[in-house]
Symmetry: C2
Subunit: 203 residues, 2 copies
């Protein structure tokens, strides 16, 4: 690995941390350079614009998310156990990835929703992918009979996403000590509501 790529990785790691607290707009080249103890221009040379830096931060975060959350969850047995593993890793991934401001996608998602341009497009793309993954996880539980066949995987993904967003808010903004317990309770309620009700009358 060349020296250039090495520092580039170092820059992106720190940039992700800053973006998680201050957002992709709050992320500043001068501030980033200060923390990394290098010159503004030296850092700038690695990306030829701030927009390119933002794009690479999003890509790096998506990579890390896949490696920390999605791929390990795929190792769990399919259906509900896999979904459960996904949820657990999802809840802790920001901390595990050393992001002091919580999930960078939550931050960026709100920040960029009214800001047209390539950065927004890139984020939307990755988040659509993520929603598709959620859907597939839920569909897997349906196919294996863990969930009823009338469970809508897309709706399930929507509801799961809601739990995570409400948790993020209760935890990080309101600093509610019950946030995590409530998120888990909501998850259990959602899963329970999707399971076959009784020993299944028709089968």
């Amino acid at each position: 690995m060349s020296k250039g790529t090495l520092t580039r990785e170092r820059i992106l790691g720190q940039a992700m941390r800053i973006a998680s607290t201050d957002g992709l707009n709050g992320l500043t080249i001068g501030g980033l350079a200060d923390v990394l103890e290098m010159s503004k221009s030296g850092l700038f040379a690695h990306f030829r614009s701030k927009e390119e830096l933002q794009l690479q931060v999003l890509d790096a975060a998506a990579d890390r998310f896949r490696a920390t959350v999605v791929e390990p969850a795929l190792a769990a047995p399919g259906g509900e156990p896999r979904l459960r593993e996904l949820f657990n890793r999802w809840m802790t991934w920001a901390e595990a990835a050393g992001m002091p401001g919580g999930c960078v996608f939550v931050q960026a998602g709100v920040e960029l929703d009214d800001q047209e341009g390539p950065v927004r497009d890139r984020l939307v793309e990755s988040q659509r992918d993520w929603m598709e993954s959620l859907e597939l996880f839920a569909a897997g539980a349906v196919k294996r009979g863990h969930f009823r066949t009338d469970v809508d995987p897309a709706l399930f993904g929507f509801q799961l996403q809601g739990i995570m967003l409400a948790w993020h808010r209760a935890h990080r903004l309101l600093r509610d000590p019950d946030a995590t317990a409530r998120a888990r309770a909501a998850f259990e309620a959602l899963v329970a509501s999707a399971r076959p009700s009784i020993p299944q009358p028709g089968a």
Copy 2:
């Protein structure tokens, strides 16, 4: 009403709109003055600092939210109908209040969660109030027998908040045409799961 208070109202109205798209940090005194076709210093004189402007924007938004969502919902009959009215008004309030960037509290909630200071404190205060209101609405449905007695009002509020946040994201970021339908479906599922299951075995 003095002329000063009148322009102050005008300023705050526009400031709320800008804050809904660009956030309270993206809100800029110069930009605000341009849109309102007045001088930066003339506008600045109404608030003696940007922080004061941000605080007043939050207060103005909270007032408008109460008037548009909470108080009209209180006119509906208590219990589930009132909760339903609240949900409907909540879903449409940003549009009804003419906020082009969606709910300003969603924006501010993510923006300020890592930014200590009086602005954050003010937002947290208003959002805690709001969560308490949600809890009371749910508790009302329990007391009237519309919901089971083992329904936790705080958890119900958490779940409801999650639906709104997921809707905001699907609607504004992903621009998913099914967002509203899914939010309504999630609401119905949540309410159904809280209702007494069958003609009530124990009573």
